[in-house]
Symmetry: C2
Subunit: 455 residues, 2 copies
């Protein structure tokens, strides 16, 4: 059957069991976003390439899926001798649209485009798939969902605190023990400044970010190779080996960063967030982590990353504050802060920790056996009553052999089966079978409904 019945690599089909588990994740995130007053938006799958290009770095540009112009796209290439042209040169002539790469750039575009309809501060959430032409590998897909919440137009640190509350609430509802790590871009700048390597902040943070993976010694080696002075590296050491609780770390850091106003500002911001958390604590742990250096090309304040405890899968949520995202689209000076949940990673964590229970509804709660004729009519009238009570239910379509119907009920894991043959119809009763225990009992129609509703 060949490529006609396969799907593009890096993409996935989701069957009913996966869908019910994925919906559990999406529904939980959506409910918590709503509970916290975030308002949903959606943007198109395709954006103009002029919106997307140059926003994700060279690597990002390369990973965009481009959509071929419709109609006679070669007409637009004009007189150019195509046999001499490269892919890179031809692409802009035959493609003007690309698939959404993340939800942040479309959101910035949305805010600028609709700025006159929006009341700021604008708290929005958005749950949609994104596409990246990344090399597919375990846990990395070319189509995956992001679940983002951002507040734009408010520089209050209350927002950072509430986003941490949201993270805590989502993972606690899903049964995941999470650890939220928090850093601040201003602190990283302060560190680069006090060790005398202000210009090399990117090199330094890229190296620091690897401490978890490769260890402190390897990081030091890498810093020296990248041209950071031996003096700076030795000054960096005590900073990276800060210990104690969050308060201890921040106090020690404060004395080390005395000479950096930016660094001190970062510490003050962190303290304000922790003071909100002291007043209204979360269930999971929130820790200062100076090695956290994600998204440095846009984050300007808080940097947030969340890991699941008990499983070694990368970050399951991340975010931070950006002071000028909409500026790239001509609306400068609007501060924002946001987080993004990675639904696919969360799915993998929940699978690894066996957090998906069997009681997630995949299918009907009950299947009625179809005996045909008058019995079918009797069963249909009962079926209507069961559904009117809000209980998902089905009858086997057609009166095939009972054995086949029972095999079907078994294979789709429906927990209950109702049999209403001639005897039951005449007496106004039904037989209810528990498909897990195999037990059967005779009940009246109304009793069977309350039994199913309670189950």
């Amino acid at each position: 059957m060949g490529s006609q019945t396969t799907i593009p690599k890096g993409t996935r089909d989701f069957g009913p069991v996966e869908m019910s588990r994925r919906n559990l994740i999406f529904d939980t995130i959506r409910s918590v976003f709503r509970l916290y007053g975030y308002r949903q938006i959606e943007t198109p799958a395709m954006e103009n390439l002029s919106t997307l290009l140059g926003k994700y770095g060279e690597e990002g540009d390369r990973l965009l899926f481009r959509v071929l112009n419709s109609g006679d796209f070669m007409k637009q290439t004009g007189e150019i001798p195509l046999h001499t042209i490269s892919s890179q040169e031809l692409a802009p002539l035959i493609s003007e649209k690309g698939l959404r790469y993340d939800l942040t750039v479309p959101f910035a575009r949305f805010v600028v485009q609709h700025r006159n309809e929006i009341t700021f501060p604008f708290r929005r959430f958005q749950i949609q798939p994104v596409w990246r032409a990344d090399k597919p590998q375990k846990g990395r897909y070319r189509e995956f969902y992001q679940c983002d919440a951002d507040v734009i137009g408010s520089d209050s640190l209350f927002n950072e605190y509430e986003l941490i509350k949201i993270i805590d609430e989502v993972f606690s509802r899903l049964g995941i023990s999470s650890e939220t790590r928090i850093n601040n871009r201003k602190i990283l700048s302060g560190i680069a400044s006090v060790i005398g390597e202000e210009e090399r902040i990117t090199d330094i943070t890229i190296a620091i970010d690897k401490i978890d993976k490769i260890g402190a010694e390897a990081v030091k080696k890498e810093l020296l190779e990248r041209g950071v002075s031996a003096d700076a590296v030795s000054k960096l050491e005590p900073i990276l080996s800060l210990s104690g609780d969050n308060g201890d770390k921040l106090s020690e850091l404060e004395s080390l960063l005395q000479e950096s106003p930016a660094g001190l500002k970062g510490i003050a911001e962190m303290r304000e967030i922790f003071s909100y958390l002291e007043n209204s604590p979360v269930k999971s742990s929130v820790v200062v982590d100076l090695t956290l250096a994600r998204g440095l090309n846009y984050y300007t304040g808080a940097i947030i990353e969340v890991k699941a405890e008990g499983v070694s899968i990368g970050s399951i949520c991340g975010g931070g504050r950006y002071d000028d995202l909409a500026g790239i689209f001509g609306l400068p000076g609007v501060s924002g802060v946001g987080i993004s949940f990675g639904a696919d990673r969360i799915y993998d964590v929940m699978s690894a920790l066996a957090l998906f229970t069997d009681d997630i509804d995949v299918t009907s709660r009950v299947m009625l056996v179809n005996f045909g004729g008058e019995e079918e009519k009797y069963a249909i009238s009962l079926l209507e009553k069961i559904r009117a009570a809000g209980i998902p239910a089905e009858i086997y379509p057609g009166s095939v052999k009972i054995k086949k119907q029972m095999a079907f009920a078994n294979s789709v894991s429906v927990p209950w089966v109702i049999m209403a043959g001639e005897e039951e119809r005449v007496t106004g009763m039904v037989t209810l079978k528990n498909m897990v225990t195999g037990e059967q009992e005779k009940l009246s129609a109304s009793d069977v409904i309350s039994r199913l509703a309670d189950a």
Copy 2:
């Protein structure tokens, strides 16, 4: 700001108000599908072009959005002198994937690809966007959602009946008065056969399908122009002018189609569906409509179309039985029947009929004014209690001027505002303001929660 802050033509952004209305439609359709025992799947936005091409006719092939191969896509064009090549010839060399054009072909592909994991009859539903490079116009978009339910692997007409029940239930929950029209491909074949024009069934049905739009006289003229004999056209007349209720129409038709076994089979199928509906009636009207001739290139039995009463917007739901859809992917002889709700059309109908009420939750139910300092702490502790009761709530981020906070609450249409200043904090009370009536009252924290929960 140019094309950077616009979106591709034919696509749309959805803001919070539109999203809450759209969610009402999607949530309703999803709940009813689930209630009837349909199980959800999702397929990737991109399919291999070999899956999509040739499945929607020439017109459909032209309307597919093609995705440019990633990386150096020109490498694959080899030695071909590109300056002589047409768009049509080049496209397959530089693009292997396309965006989903509907949910039916991906579902057929899904069924064949996963046939060993699926228990038949398989009732699936799927709610996802599709993309078509159609000329954008009022009510027609390049990105829109389809909401499909299909049963595959059962030829019982019970399924047709249940799909009609689903249609009825969805539109009744949404407050739309609907009329479901039903026809049968076998009856159309029978008609073509008894008027002696079996070969011209497509011409005949295409013309008949226009009766609603252009009238019977114009249809007759068109049939003659298409080469249908005058004799056949005159034989067709009584069939098209059948009147009376569904039973009358089917009886008259039965005598007219005596010579066509296919036609009689179609009538018997219709009667069986109506006999289910007599036993278990629906609230909306279901009418036999012989002019209904959609989807003739794949429907083999029932053809279904639904219109909203009181508004002249096209079909809001359609479907039918196809006997061999999976056959195109090498799994022949599996019969299916399905329907597809057009969420965007339904949205337009509900807007036109003013069916969206103000009580659809767009935002928080209550906003707490932020007075800063100790009052902010007091407000946050109250906010936590309100959210713990499941009520979406927010506090203004930062203690800006009260006037600005109230203007914000007003512009996002939050129905209630809580003010808890120093006096309230000291006495353990809050002031609750109804933003619609302007009324204010002082309540205790626990009373305010029960008031908000009841509202």
